[in-house]
């Protein structure tokens, strides 16, 4: 329970200075340093304390909660602090004048917020909002800082990470689910019957939980992938990368670890198998992409290291023909590599927003990119320029309802039957983008599928537009086309895992 100023001088502050009645140990969970030289600490007694860093003396102490204060963030102006606690409550402390118009100011605990059910592990303070993260992420705008009522003044809550946690082996019809400490491999069920829209068909083969793979050690799994043929499986933790060979013999499934995996500089941010399952692309934190060749019966070797990115690569998209690979780095630059000659091909013009998903069209080799501000672009790799459709889309602008969505697109795929179809999804909707249809404008309804159904054929044709949206599955974790007739959708009801969570802190509730 000490906090210190960087060497050469070390000031030791004993936070557990006061003798508590119960001899619990005091743990400082978070500290912050103010420009005035005040050290702010948040500890397990629920206190937020202000220390003079030179003297090591306590200036102020605020008991904000009866449970532990876990996280702490200071606003840029240093007049506001947000504290996260283990009960899921966050508190705001404000530096307020003691007398109106006076110079003397004091920290005062003001607003409590309860948006989480469990530990608030991390908090951040933007100029106009408090951001807190635990089991969910919440952005709470500060109403007094928001200039006008609108999109910015709305509380936003995110339950799932904006990352793909499911990967699919299309040919083998396997799904790999990534959990924090383990992986689960499932075989999809199937049916031989057909039915009408909305009908639930009887299964002739039940979905099957093939294998559960537990990660060794306390580290969380960072990324995972299963190869399209379903015979390779890879995952990476913060320190190690693991590759397995999956063997299906009859009903049983066995996993064999691939020996002598090339030591990679940790950590790998993204794994991606090539469409023919011959090679594996590993995106590293150092801004390079490692290309591994997979060998039968169970081995691999490092083929190439593609460089060029200045920051960590966090998204990869190989083309179906194995010719191209697109990689997104932390500075939001998209680099395209030629895999045939292991050459850097081009850089997509950088946009001032993070890339949330990208994919290369199997027939046209057009790179479709979704940005976190909901913008969509199509970039032709061979021609090294935006396509005409993309330019038309940019000039016309996207529908307002599309732009005001909270959740970014996390996965993009294509319809092999119709090359004009792009399939996109986020946590709340699934969209078929039909490039052959006209784009909607703000006056038309974006989500018009239910109204279209009621219209006669001729009127329906007039009302059609490019965005065909389905909101049936929520929250939607994953969607992919297995083949021309089959689409797999992974839905994860929140209550399923909320009920399994342990109680955050045992406390007596009034009236119970």
């Amino acid at each position: 329970s000490t906090t210190w100023h960087p060497p050469p001088e070390v000031t030791r502050i004993m936070v557990n200075h006061r003798v508590e009645k119960a001899k619990r140990e005091c743990v400082v969970w978070a500290i912050a340093l103010l420009s005035s030289g005040t050290v702010v600490s948040a500890d397990s007694f629920g206190r937020v304390q202000f220390w003079d860093w030179q003297q090591g003396t306590l200036a102020e102490s605020h008991t904000v909660s009866s449970s532990a204060a876990l996280s702490l963030a200071v606003s840029e102006k240093e007049d506001s602090i947000v504290v996260g606690t283990s009960t899921g409550a966050t508190y705001q402390l404000q530096l307020l004048p003691v007398k109106l118009g006076g110079l003397e100011k004091r920290w005062v605990r003001t607003k409590p917020f309860q948006y989480h059910s469990h530990d608030v592990r991390a908090v951040a303070h933007s100029p106009s909002a408090l951001i807190s993260g635990g089991t969910t992420l919440v952005i709470r705008p500060l109403m007094e800082k928001v200039q006008k009522k609108g999109y910015d003044a709305v509380l936003r809550k995110f339950t799932f990470p904006h990352r793909r946690l499911v990967s699919c082996a299309r040919k083998a019809r396997l799904l790999l689910f990534q959990f924090s400490q383990h992986l689960e491999l499932w075989r999809l069920g199937s049916t031989e019957e057909t039915g009408k829209d909305g009908e639930v068909l009887p299964l002739c083969r039940m979905p099957e939980h093939l294998v559960q793979l537990k990660s060794k050690g306390p580290e969380h799994i960072y990324c995972s992938c299963v190869s399209p043929c379903g015979t390779w499986l890879g995952y990476s933790t913060a320190s190690r990368f693991h590759l397995y060979r999956v063997r299906c013999d009859g009903d049983g499934v066995s996993l064999r670890k691939v020996p002598k995996v090339p030591k990679l500089l940790p950590p790998a941010y993204q794994l991606q198998f090539s469409a023919d399952s011959d090679s594996l692309f590993v995106a590293s934190a150092r801004g390079s992409v490692h290309v591994l060749q997979l060998l039968e019966p169970g081995g691999c070797k490092l083929l190439h290291i593609a460089c060029g990115c200045s920051e960590a690569v966090y998204l990869l998209a190989p083309s179906a023909d194995g010719h191209w690979l697109a990689a997104v780095s932390g500075d939001w630059a998209i680099h395209v590599y030629n895999l045939k000659c292991f050459k850097h091909h081009c850089v997509v013009p950088t946009y001032n927003c993070a890339v949330s998903a990208l994919a290369i069209h199997p027939s046209t080799n057009n790179l479709v990119i979704a940005y976190s501000d909901q913008q969509l672009v199509e970039f032709s790799i061979p021609e090294k320029q935006y396509t005409g459709w993309s330019r038309a889309l940019q000039s016309r602008g996207l529908h307002r309802a599309w732009l005001e969505r909270d959740s970014p697109i996390t996965h993009i795929t294509f319809n092999p039957k119709n090359p004009a179809h792009i399939l996109l999804h986020d946590t709340y909707l699934l969209c078929v983008l039909d490039k052959s249809l006209p784009l909607p404008d703000d006056s038309t309804l974006l989500m018009n599928q239910s109204t279209l159904k009621q219209l006669p054929e001729t009127a329906r044709k007039r009302q059609l537009h490019a965005f065909k949206i389905c909101k049936k599955f929520q929250p939607l974790l994953f969607m992919d086309l297995l083949d021309e007739n089959c689409l797999v959708v992974v839905e994860r009801p929140i209550m399923d895992f909320k009920t399994q969570l342990p109680m955050p802190v045992q406390q007596k509730k009034f009236g119970t």
Partner: protein
């Protein structure tokens, strides 16, 4: 109503009704009672520039400045409109702030207190500070050094900065989600910092800061109370905040932190007001049950000032403890209070229910509903029931007075004595008889009455306990009232429309009476000379008197009797009626259908209960009109739980010259009632002298041995009235013959002196006439007399006339 805003050692000042009371903090005594306002005192504030002076405001539209050390008014400022609250911040040099009504809303105005020589001054210089404020004193607070004023109403808070002339308004959401209710209940300001504390209807306390910014204002929330926060108070330094509410717990918040708080629980009843002393050493809380608790700065209970405890509902009635002559009624929830009328203090509080009372709305809890004392006060019977309407949990408890511990000890507990609510309960009231003949009767809605007797236990110590001896019923009607005759030989039980009379030895049904339509509301036996009569009042507004010897209706009168109360020491019975929003008192003797005393318009409130409290010594009462108050004093309890009494003092004052009396009235602590009565009397006196009616004086029968014998023989052993009538009248005639001429002359003089007095009596008859005309209008007869009675009356009239003609 009380509002202790300004506690100063060693005095506690408190507004109470039309008065301001000064208590000593160390002895809890009422040191001074400052009267002078003509209406309710709504606010008191210490003069910030002289702490020996006090401002008080009243609904009568005046502000008075008092020297409370001597209890004298220094100045009276007449504002003109009703004053609902008063504030005297130190920053205002020569003005105070008051809340006055303006159409349907209220406004805060500053009143410039004119400097003048005289005692009565006009204060007409008003300037409006805030519009649309709350009417309650708790809805406005002045900030640090009087720089700003805060007002709360509904979900809106407004702050007005005097120097900058800036008005900021803040609103909370009106939505009531998750049991929240943002309506403000009270507001206080931090004494040294710019911080406003507000209490809310859902129990939250909000601490507002930065409120000079319309946008960047902020507040933090403290939440412990589960129901409305009734009042808040900051300590002198502002480091501590006290809050109180319905939970009867005083909460002390340290440094505005929700984690550091102290509690002072079990204060007895909901907290209404909190006030800090100016030196911060003490604080006091005022409770809804009319009690002040003084609390140390370290949150320890110090002492309490309490008179008559106001309970939620007086179900027990007014009962007099024969031992202490104290008034006994519901006190704290589940307790019985013994209230001493002489000292205006609670003697003690007896815990009957013996269960923790939880202060929460909607919770069904047990409470005391009936109480009865045996004649000598050695036994006490109590009935408690839960608030369930359909299936009440009943308990009958019998308590024995322990001489050693000087308190009641539980002797017998009977679970479910009846299957439904117990409606009445009485002991057989016999002073002379042995203890073991003590009988308790309870009546219930389960259509039976039960007789409980003492039985000796089988254990060697020979303790006694109570058990049921007899169960009586009548045609399966609900039993509503019961009472024993004075000698204990007869028991009357009313069953809805019927009164049944039972022999208390054999439990045989002797006779029944009824006066349809309408259920019997009250019954009582006449006492002493009138013990052969049974009086009953019905729902349909009839007061009936039945003769137990002839088993016939003696007389009846059309009167909506709410309370029927016999005097235990005389034959007088007091009946209180409730008609067209006023209560009237009638005192009568059962043997005379004409009341001996009528007091119309006794008060505007409905009188629910009455009790005769025996005087320690019979008072010498000069006026015949109040002769019935000689041995007992009559007390009333209204539906607002105000205890009132009839005072004979005002009569004496009335006999003194009016100018002198006015002076006396001003200086004497007169009760509101006596004032009222005084006014009324004066008015009547004027009317009467104008009318100049002939004087008829009825000389009261003097101590003739025949009459004495007649009056002091118990009713049930007397021969019939028709037989006695001639003897009675003859005895009167003899007295006439004995008078000498001198005596007659004297009497005439006395008569002229007492003209006023007699004219009052004339007034009574006049009112009686009014009454008859009134009832005739309603199509009812006032008196229904039997033929024999009419004959008797005619006889008496004849003799009367001859007697007067002899003069």
């Amino acid at each position: 109503r009380w509002c202790p805003r300004g506690l100063r050692l060693p005095y506690l000042l408190c507004a109470s009704g039309d008065f301001v009371k000064v208590y000593s903090v160390s002895t809890e005594e009422t040191l001074r009672l400052m009267g002078g306002h003509a209406d309710l005192v709504t606010g008191i504030q210490l003069n910030p520039h002289n702490h020996m002076q006090l401002y008080s405001s009243s609904l009568d539209g005046t502000i008075k400045l008092w020297d409370f050390m001597d209890g004298i008014p220094i100045k009276t400022f007449t504002v003109g409109s009703k004053l609902l609250a008063l504030y005297a911040p130190a920053s205002a040099e020569d003005s105070v702030f008051v809340v006055i009504p303006k159409k349907d809303t209220f406004q805060l105005v500053s009143v410039k207190l004119a400097k003048g020589a005289g005692q009565d001054l006009e204060a007409k210089e008003l300037s409006v500070v805030l519009d649309g404020v709350g009417a309650s004193m708790k809805h406005i607070a002045f900030g640090r050094e009087g720089e700003y004023v805060v007002s709360v109403k509904d979900v809106n808070l407004q702050v007005y900065f005097f120097k900058r002339k800036l008005l900021n308004r803040f609103s909370l959401s009106t939505l009531k989600t998750k049991g929240g209710d943002n309506n403000f209940s009270c507001v206080v300001c931090h004494p040294t910092e710019d911080c406003i504390a507000t209490g809310h209807a859902d129990g939250k306390i909000r601490l507002w800061r930065n409120f000079h910014h319309r946008k960047e204002y902020t507040y933090s929330t403290l939440h412990w109370h589960h129901d409305i926060v009734m009042d808040l108070a900051f300590s002198v330094e502002g480091t501590r905040l006290l809050s109180g509410g319905v939970e009867s717990v005083l909460v002390q918040w340290h440094n505005e932190s929700s984690c550091q708080k102290d509690f002072l629980p079990r204060l007895g009843s909901p907290i209404e007001y909190i006030s800090m002393s100016s030196d911060g050493a003490l604080c006091c809380t005022l409770h809804t049950d009319n009690r002040i608790t003084i609390i140390n700065s370290n949150l320890r209970f110090s002492r309490s000032i309490q008179g008559l405890i106001k309970s939620r509902d007086v179900k027990t009635g007014l009962v007099v403890d024969p031992r202490t002559k104290a008034l006994v009624l519901n006190g704290e929830p589940g307790h019985l209070q013994f209230y001493s009328l002489q000292s205006d203090q609670q003697l003690f509080s007896l815990d009957i229910v013996q269960r923790q009372y939880i202060h929460q709305a909607g919770l069904k809890q047990s409470d005391l509903v009936k109480v009865a004392f045996s004649a000598r006060g050695t036994w006490l019977a109590t009935v408690e029931e839960s608030e369930e309407v359909t299936d009440p949990e009943l308990q009958l408890k019998l308590w024995f007075y322990n001489e050693e511990t000087q308190s009641f000890k539980l002797n017998t507990r009977i679970n479910s004595p009846h299957d439904n609510h117990i409606t009445d309960m009485c002991f057989r009231d016999m002073n002379e008889l042995e203890e073991d003949s003590l009988i308790l009767v309870t009546t219930g809605r389960d259509c039976v009455f039960k007789v409980w007797v003492m039985v000796e236990d089988t254990d060697p110590e020979g303790n006694v306990s109570w058990s049921c001896d007899f169960v009586g019923s009548y045609h399966n009607y609900q039993a509503t009232n019961c009472c024993f005759s004075e000698d204990g030989s007869l028991l009357a039980v009313s069953f809805e429309e019927t009164v049944t009379v039972w022999d208390s030895l054999t439990w045989d049904l002797k006779c029944t009476f009824c006066h349809p339509p309408g259920n019997i509301r009250n019954i009582c036996f006449g006492r002493q000379t009138c013990s052969k009569y049974l009086i009953g009042a019905t729902d349909y507004g009839f007061l009936c008197c039945w003769n137990l010897l002839t088993c016939a209706l003696e007389w009846s009168a059309h009167l909506n009797v709410v309370v029927l109360q016999p005097d235990p020491l005389s034959e007088h019975i007091a009946a209180v009626s409730w008609l067209s929003k006023e209560s009237s008192l009638f005192v009568f003797k059962p043997n005379e259908p004409r009341p001996i005393y009528i007091q119309r318009n006794l008060c505007k409130e409905k009188i629910l209960l009455a009790a005769f409290v025996p005087r320690d010594e019979p008072e010498i009462i000069s006026s015949e009109k109040y002769y019935w108050l000689r041995r007992s004093q009559l007390f009333f309890l209204t539906d607002t739980q105000e205890l009132m009494t009839l005072s004979t003092k005002s009569l004496e004052e009335r006999l003194t010259p009016s100018s002198k009396q006015l002076a006396v009235e001003e200086s004497l602590p007169v009760t509101p009632f006596s004032l009222l009565l005084g006014k009324h009397r004066r008015q009547q006196a004027q009317e009467d002298t104008e009318l100049g009616k002939p004087v008829v004086h009825n000389k009261q029968e003097q101590a003739s041995p025949a009459v004495k014998e007649l009056l002091h023989t118990p009713a049930h052993v007397l021969p019939s009235a028709s037989f006695l009538c001639t003897i009675f009248i003859n005895s009167l005639l003899i007295s006439k013959e004995n008078k000498s001429a001198e005596e007659i002359a004297d009497e005439v003089e006395v008569e002229s002196e007492k003209a006023e007095d007699d004219s009052d009596e004339e007034d009574v008859t006049e009112m009686e006439q009014e009454d008859t005309s009134h009832t005739e209008l309603l199509g009812e007869m006032t008196c229904k007399l039997s033929k024999s009675q009419e004959k008797e009356l005619r006889k008496i009239r004849k003799t009367d006339y001859s007697w007067i003609s002899a003069f």
